[in-house]
């Protein structure tokens, strides 16, 4: 696969002096679904905005389909559809007017059939004559998607598409995303939910504090990161972990009231059965247990430490 977006040595410093992006190098392949994963304030929106032309890069170079986003912005921007993070809408306009406006803004001749099919796909057709302010949050998000798709982009950016979105829309959205991908559209989405990246993406990039920490195929990354923790709350505190349990690499909580076991949930054998048998054999009893997915926070900590 060839790359459709190429970012080289990109940095962005806002007028406030804040360094939002630090020396980003990234290639997005044509036709893939790329998830940009990172906590709030990591620089995801800034990165997208710089590719789309909403903010100017401080240094570095971005090309889209081989064209420079600054010098040949007419070519690059007409390839891109953007669904922004914020629900920004012309409250007083109708759905129909605002979606057709977007298409015209991108230099495309009116095409009512196409707009109709986009609105039907997004179950917005019945609402086409409603003013946007009358719509619910989920419906407003759909309108933004319809606007982004109205000019038939080859690249679609979805900035935190599922923030504050109900289950139905989430399902619909992923169906639309898959269908678009099947038709050859490259999709870049941002999220701070690891599950979302896991469900959708072909490749994942992790961004933190303005730095792209790593980019990796999803499968590889998930096997690296798909760790879970099992916490066992003991009935009686223990001073130290018995010798016969050393093979399990347990951690003891500082107060000795809990044991923590880390395992790979993707592995065929998690080792939990043997652990529990060995515990019983060592006469250690517990009153409760819980398991937890390693959180993104922990992943970052572990990545930054490496």
């Amino acid at each position: 696969m060839t790359s459709i977006i190429s970012i080289q040595k990109l940095s962005k410093t806002y007028a406030s002096g804040l360094k939002a992006l630090k020396n980003i190098n990234l290639d997005i392949k044509r036709g893939e679904i790329f998830a940009l994963l990172g906590p709030n304030g990591a620089g995801k929106t800034t990165l997208i905005s710089t590719i789309c032309g909403i903010t100017n890069p401080t240094t570095g170079k971005i090309t889209v389909a081989g064209f420079d986003v600054e010098k040949e912005f007419r070519k690059t921007r007409s390839l891109i559809g953007l669904v922004p993070q914020e629900l920004t809408n012309n409250a007083f306009e109708t759905v129909w007017a605002t979606v057709n406006f977007s298409r015209g803004l991108f230099g495309k001749k009116p095409n009512p059939q196409l707009i109709e099919s986009i609105l039907r796909d997004l179950t917005l057709w019945d609402k086409r004559n409603d003013k946007i302010m009358m719509l619910s949050g989920g419906m407003k998000r759909r309108v933004l998607i319809a606007k982004a798709l109205s000019h038939e982009p080859q690249i679609l950016f979805l900035d935190e598409p599922t923030a504050g979105v109900d289950v139905n829309l989430r399902k619909d959205m992923w169906n639309i995303v898959r269908r678009l991908r099947d038709s050859g559209v490259t999709i870049i989405l941002t999220t701070h939910y690891i599950e979302e990246a896991e469900e959708m993406a072909d490749r994942i990039g992790i961004i933190n504090n303005g730095e792209l920490i790593l980019t990796e195929d999803k499968e590889k990354l998930m096997s690296k990161l798909g760790k879970k923790r099992l916490t066992l709350h003991l009935i009686k505190p223990i001073d130290k972990i018995p010798q016969q349990l050393s093979a399990h690499h347990l951690e003891r909580s500082p107060d000795g009231c809990a044991l923590i076991y880390t395992y790979d949930k993707r592995g065929r054998r998690t080792g939990i059965t043997t652990l529990l048998q060995d515990l019983a054999a060592s006469n250690i009893h517990f009153q409760d247990l819980e398991t937890k997915q390693s959180s993104l926070e922990e992943i970052f900590v572990s990545l930054v430490k490496d």
């Binding site: 007028a15 903010t55 100017n56 921007r77 920004t88 495309k108 001749k109």
Partner: protein
């Protein structure tokens, strides 16, 4: 050049105008009628004629100018302020358009609306006083030039403003006084010499005077000068707009 985009912005903005057509048209018609009642009837009985023109007819060009200025500024400033305020401006930035399309779309729509309102005021006025237009070509030229120039000016204000107060403040604090002191309701020749000189620093004087000349061939200042000053102001606005988009002032980070 992306003409489709200009067309889209223009149509979108004009749709906003048609939606609010009631208030857009009714209020200038009412206020114009009020000016005629108050100034025309009350003052008109005292000032019967200025330079051979009845007072009622004399104030018509000034009234039209007054509306053109305030309408152009408020239409254009609101037109671009609103996307900035609501955040929908992201779409303008991410679209394959340059500032030329943006300005043509927004300023074109704002100017169109003020011209429509200017014509409605002329029509209203014609019910009160007999109108004559000596130089229709120049009348239209001034009408267009003023609407476009002050729509450009309004566009600048819309970008500069970061709140609704600022959006109001320039028209209220600068334009309205300048218009009232700009010979809308009187000839500046009626002022004492000192104030006549001061008035010459007021750009609105040139607009009103030139516009009035196209109706009645009477003017406070030379027509060529009127036209040149207006052109100069338009040019200044264009330079500022060019600078705004070059630097991204208040619209792009």
């Amino acid at each position: 050049m992306n003409f489709q985009a200009v067309r889209s912005i223009y149509i979108f903005e004009m749709a906003r105008t048609w939606r609010t057509i009631g208030q857009s048209v009714i209020s200038p018609v009412i206020s114009t009628s009020l000016y005629f009642v108050v100034f025309g009837a009350a003052l008109g009985s005292r000032i019967t004629e200025i330079d051979g023109v009845s007072y009622g007819a004399f104030i018509v060009p000034g009234l039209v100018m007054l509306s053109l200025l305030t309408q152009s500024i408020s239409n254009a400033s609101f037109g671009i302020f609103f996307p900035k305020f609501s955040g929908t401006i992201y779409e303008l930035h991410s679209a394959p358009i340059s500032y030329i399309e943006i300005v043509l779309g927004y300023v074109g729509a704002a100017a169109t609306k003020s011209i429509i309102i200017g014509c409605i005021i002329l029509l209203t006025a014609s019910f009160f006083v007999p109108l004559q237009i000596a130089h229709p070509f120049w009348m239209i030229a001034f009408l267009l030039l003023t609407s476009i120039t002050f729509s450009l000016f309004g566009f600048i204000i819309g970008i500069w403003a970061d709140g609704f107060e600022k959006l109001q403040i320039v028209p209220l604090l600068i334009i309205t006084p300048l218009t009232f002191l700009g010979g809308t309701f009187y000839s500046i020749n009626m002022l004492p010499p000192f104030w006549q000189t001061v008035s010459l620093a007021n750009p609105v004087v040139y607009l009103v005077s030139g516009f009035r000349w196209s109706f009645y061939e009477i003017s406070d200042v030379n027509v060529g000068l009127s036209f040149s000053i207006t052109l100069l102001f338009m040019f200044a606005c264009l330079v500022v707009i060019w600078w705004i988009f070059k630097t991204g002032y208040r619209i792009k980070s």
